[in-house]
């Protein structure tokens, strides 16, 4: 049976939560940057679009994105089968869900500490 897009988003979230560490940086602004850049680059890789990786910072986001894109392709055949626009929509929802779980809905009281 075909999963709903919500179920698909949860599948993608689960891989990040179980296998990755980049989403758990210690401050809100840090997490926003991580989510933004790595999900953007993962989406670009999955949609065969060019990815900018000129600076060390971009390169670092890119390596996490390559890993994630490969994991998604390997675990979920639908990632390569569905229309690219639909995939982009799912990735947008994934980013929203991550932002909620890790930032706006997070119970971690340290996220707003102004210092490291």
């Amino acid at each position: 049976m075909k999963e709903t897009s919500k179920e698909r988003v949860e599948q993608l979230v689960d891989v990040i939560m179980k296998k990755c560490l980049w989403q758990f940086h210690s401050r809100t602004w840090d997490r926003e940057k991580q989510n933004e850049n790595i999900i953007l680059k993962t989406t670009q890789i999955l949609c065969d679009e060019p990815v900018v990786k000129e600076t060390p910072e971009e390169k670092c986001y890119w390596v996490d994105a390559v890993w994630l894109a490969n994991a998604y392709k390997e675990k979920f055949p639908w990632v390569t089968e569905i229309d690219k626009e639909d995939l982009k929509q799912i990735m947008r929802e994934l980013k929203e869900r991550l932002d909620f779980l890790l930032i706006t809905g997070s119970l971690n009281a340290e996220l707003t500490d102004p210092l490291y």
Binding site: K18, K19, S26, C60, W67, G105, S106, A109
Partner: protein, 523 residues
């Protein structure tokens, strides 16, 4: 209800917000234990102090340094040698410990003069060592001794020595974690950027948050060297003081224990533009991913792949031997800070055990977020547990083994729950491919040791069976195994040697021609 109040803590109701059971379908936004708060009075915590966090965890693994505590001898003694962070200079930093031996009279009259004498005496006693770290303690902080001023005076008088001052008294935070933070920041403020490194490769990393427990750092360094990557510095296991002063020249910070060392990575990123890549050195799959990511950053992925293929082929059949025998065993993963998330998922997937509880003594809420995310539903997550809660959790969960420190570990033993030392290891190193098999072997030996059954017999009154021999581990572990697994010719027990580090020391590393077409990240 996701939050869990232990029966033994009903008289300390604030504890109710420090434990959570991961319920089906629940997320981090539903419940998260409080963390990194002062221990509630009445709760007998298992934490260490901020001085201990600074010295014992992060400072002392630096190998070519005299580690001097400015305070009473007790602070020093309790942070000496109880963690097995080896070094390749004959364990200099483990063999000796130094204290100014502060007494009541110094509290009244000050101890700066005595500190200066001690510093000079220590340098004279060990003339080959030219570097020192001085650790403040509660006593020297409370009387206001100016350690920096004394250190500067000595450095003027002895121009060939260099001294780092770590002002992290015991009361400088709710737990040892406060000390981790302070020493990270002190190091980058005082020392980073004061030495230019000798470079031997076009790819340079700092390996951060790695303490060389039983040789972990040497195992990981071996992989990096095989890829042609120079480990400019390790913060701090087996790390050299002067190498760590040159951290600003790395292209990438590879961060292992984010709990204890993310601060310096974050600062290096902000001040020097060096990116931070968080990795896992434990478990075949996470380690493979980590090596690949580091290599990919430099455009040398094929070198990582070659190592992964070779190591996996060599060690996977041995890991699988243990996995078949550990499947379904219940584990409490009760370390200090970072191993709850390093291990929670990969011990389940790669050793087949079920993590029924995770706890952290000094972790922050961020560590709980990682740990809870990585363990399965139903697990009990506890922040800063007290001894009674640990006992109650063991009664409730009936684990087959717990991974923890020696204080709670010895308590567990008394109720016949085997434990492995999660901080200092049993037969480590546990990092790397072979290391992971050694960990599996330790888990197996812990769970299936015949002593657990034998110790139930009281020779003063019980009848001792004399018609059969003792049961061996294999008899206990293989009883429910299928014939196919029992007789498998592919799976095998650990076949490595006693000391895996010896082989690493003898290895000759390949030389790689420079990759002219790879644009190196400028720092």
């Amino acid at each position: 209800m996701p939050y869990h109040l232990f029966k033994c803590s009903e008289c300390i109701p604030e504890r109710g917000k420090h434990a959570v059971i991961k319920g089906p379908g629940e997320t981090l936004a539903d419940a998260l234990p409080l963390g990194y708060l002062n221990t509630i009075p009445g709760s007998i915590s298992e934490r260490g102090c901020a001085y201990c966090g600074a010295k014992h965890v992060i400072g002392t693994p630096m190998k070519d340094v005299i580690h001097m505590s400015h305070g009473p001898v007790g602070c020093t003694y309790d942070t000496w040698q109880t963690k097995r962070y080896l070094s390749d200079n004959d364990n200099f930093q483990l063999k000796y410990t130094y204290a100014t031996d502060m007494k009541e009279k110094h509290i009244i009259f000050g101890a700066e003069k005595m500190l200066k004498q001690n510093i000079i005496e220590a340098f004279e006693a060990f003339p080959a060592i030219k570097r020192m770290t001085i650790y403040q303690t509660c006593a020297s902080a409370l009387i206001g001794d100016d350690i920096n001023a004394v250190a500067n005076k000595v450095m003027k008088e002895m121009p060939d020595v260099d001294i780092f001052v770590c002002n992290s008294p015991g009361f400088g935070g709710p737990s040892q974690s406060g000390g981790h933070h302070k020493i990270n920041i002190a190091w980058i403020n005082q020392k980073v950027g004061t030495v230019e490194p000798e470079t031997t490769s076009e790819y340079m990393i700092n390996y951060v948050g790695e303490y060389n427990i039983q040789g972990d750092q040497e195992v990981m360094q071996d992989y990096f060297k095989r890829m042609g990557i120079q480990v400019l510095s390790t913060f701090t296991g087996n790390g050299s003081y002067d190498d760590l002063r040159a951290m600003h020249r790395a292209h990438l910070n590879v961060l292992e224990c984010a709990r204890s060392a993310e601060y310096i990575c974050n600062e290096l990123r902000v001040r020097y533009g060096i990116p931070r890549l968080d990795i896992d050195g434990f478990g075949f799959e996470p380690l493979s991913s980590s090596l690949k990511k580091v290599a990919m950053f430099f455009g040398i992925e094929e070198r990582a792949q070659a190592i992964i293929d070779e190591e996996t082929a060599r060690w996977k059949p041995e890991l699988e031997w243990y996995k078949a025998r550990l499947a379904g065993k219940k584990v409490c993963l009760w370390p200090g800070g970072s191993k709850l998330w390093h291990w929670a998922n990969c011990i389940h997937e790669e050793m087949g055990v079920d993590v029924v509880s995770v706890y952290t003594k000094f972790g922050h809420q961020g560590d709980m977020e990682k740990g809870i995310s990585r363990c399965e539903e139903g697990a009990l997550a506890i922040d800063d547990p007290n001894e009674l809660e640990g006992m109650e959790a063991m009664e409730m969960l009936e684990p087959d083994i717990i991974f923890t420190g020696k204080r709670p570990g010895e308590v567990a033993k008394k109720v016949r729950v085997p434990y492995l030392n999660a901080h200092a290891y049993h037969n480590g190193p546990w990092k790397g491919f072979e290391g992971w098999v050694r960990f599996a072997r330790d888990v197996y030996n812990g769970i299936y040791s015949p002593i657990h059954k034998l110790s139930l017999l009281d020779i003063s009154k019980d009848e001792i069976p004399v018609d059969r021999g003792f049961e061996t581990q294999r008899m206990l572990s293989d009883v429910h195994l299928s014939e196919e697994i029992k007789n498998s010719t592919e799976l095998r027990e650990y076949t490595g040697g006693y000391d895996l580090l010896k082989g690493l020391k003898e290895r000759v590393y390949p030389e790689f021609p420079p990759k002219a077409n790879v644009a190196l990240p400028a720092v």
